[in-house]
């Protein structure tokens, strides 16, 4: 009987140690599913440095198209899947514009949007941001209904060719929570109140917020902006000729 209690005690010790280690281990950090406190964001310079968008296209392109979006917002999904491919084809891939995506996770209405934003950033670590974003938006109606969408996010990462273990370790941590939180703060500081928000700017000029974000409206806004920036040079040319 004494031997039995020794075996029982050994099983108890191993069990307590294993579960205790799992919970306490540094590699088992709690998954960040909502915005985190980031020091220094009250300072605009720090905020701008911290709030990094994900960029696509020529960094020296004259036009910048910026989007602030939420992964649980159906309009953002429609924009990404229908309008953005046209912008890519006409402006980004031709070197006329670069596209920058900023997270604007409206966590009060959308419980999984922050995690989705982090998931996309985890995919970005492996150079798979844009395909992952498309996948997550394409499957939006599926994962938003889940109680725990983490498994779906991992599946989507595998679908786009990301390394599963690396992605999973990233998702199950607090990686990128600071950048996504900073992006959210930036959106509020800019006075944005809805998603998607699309802005265009030329060079270092002021960004213009677009009220319509169908392709034709954005196209017109870009053409107008380009025409306006070309106008002063025409004036100076005529002045030089006079």
């Amino acid at each position: 009987m004494t031997k039995f209690y020794w075996i029982l005690a050994m099983v108890a010790v191993v069990g307590v140690a294993a579960v205790g280690y799992t919970v306490a281990s540094g590699t088992m950090r709690k998954t960040a599913t909502e915005p985190v406190e980031v020091e220094g964001l009250d300072n605009m310079e720090t905020l701008v440095a911290m709030a990094r968008g994900v960029s696509k296209g020529d960094p020296d392109a004259p036009i910048t198209i910026a989007e602030f979006a939420d992964y649980q917002c159906p309009g953002c999904g429609a924009f990404t899947l229908t309008v953005k491919p046209q912008l890519d084809a006409q402006y980004v891939e031709t070197g006329k514009a670069r596209f920058v995506y900023y997270d604007f996770p409206l966590v009060s209405n959308h419980p999984y949007t922050f995690l989705a934003a982090r998931a996309a950033r985890c995919a970005d670590d492996q150079g798979k941001f844009w395909e992952y974003q498309n996948t997550i938006f394409r499957n939006q109606s599926t994962w938003v209904t889940k109680q725990q969408p983490q498994g779906d996010f991992v599946d989507y990462a595998v679908m786009v060719g990301a390394d599963k273990d690396t992605f999973e370790a990233c998702l199950k941590s607090d990686a990128h929570a600071d950048v996504v939180s900073a992006n959210l703060r930036l959106a509020y500081e800019l006075g944005l109140d809805g998603t998607p928000t699309v802005m265009i700017s030329m060079g270092r000029g002021m960004a213009r917020r677009l009220m319509s974000f169908d392709f034709q409206s954005i196209q017109k806004a870009i053409e107008d902006l380009m025409a306006e920036s070309a106008a002063p040079s025409a004036d100076s040319a005529s002045a030089a000729g006079a």
Partner: protein
């Protein structure tokens, strides 16, 4: 004795699944299968209760009954072993249902769930033998 040891091991296994489900542990250690997929499925919750919590309670119950049966003073009775057999039979059916879900509904395997199913099966067989042994002893 075997039942008590296996129940204690099963308790810690279910506890691990529970802390993972509650987000108290990060990535699951999962050498074989797709533990995260199973843990993220809707079957990992029964109403508001994590399925693994039922495992924790079930194993703890079987451990308690098994320890009761090991006490001196006549507690190692047919009634106690019968109770253990009933308890483990319920656990076996529940475990079989979860294994069926993994195979045909979720289509993903969690190694810890499979190990738990094996533990429950051994506990049930051991309880069955114990009942038969006691019955044989009283008939002799």
């Amino acid at each position: 004795m075997v039942i008590a040891v296996l129940s204690l091991a099963g308790f810690f296994l279910a506890l691990y699944l529970l802390v993972s489900k509650l987000g108290l542990a990060g990535s699951m250690i999962c050498g074989v299968g797709e533990c995260e997929t199973v843990q993220a499925s809707k079957w990992s919750m029964i109403g508001p209760v994590p399925t693994s919590a039922l495992g924790v309670v079930g194993y703890l119950g079987m451990l308690g009954v098994a320890m009761l049966g090991l006490q001196p003073g006549g507690l190692r009775s047919r009634a106690v072993s019968g109770l253990l057999l009933g308890f483990s039979a319920v656990a076996l059916v529940f475990s079989a249902w979860l294994t069926w879900l993994e195979a045909f509904v979720i289509r993903a395997w969690c190694q810890w769930c499979v190990i738990s199913a094996i533990l429950v099966t051994i506990i049930f067989v051991a309880a069955l033998f114990e009942v038969r042994r006691l019955r044989g002893g009283s008939e002799a």
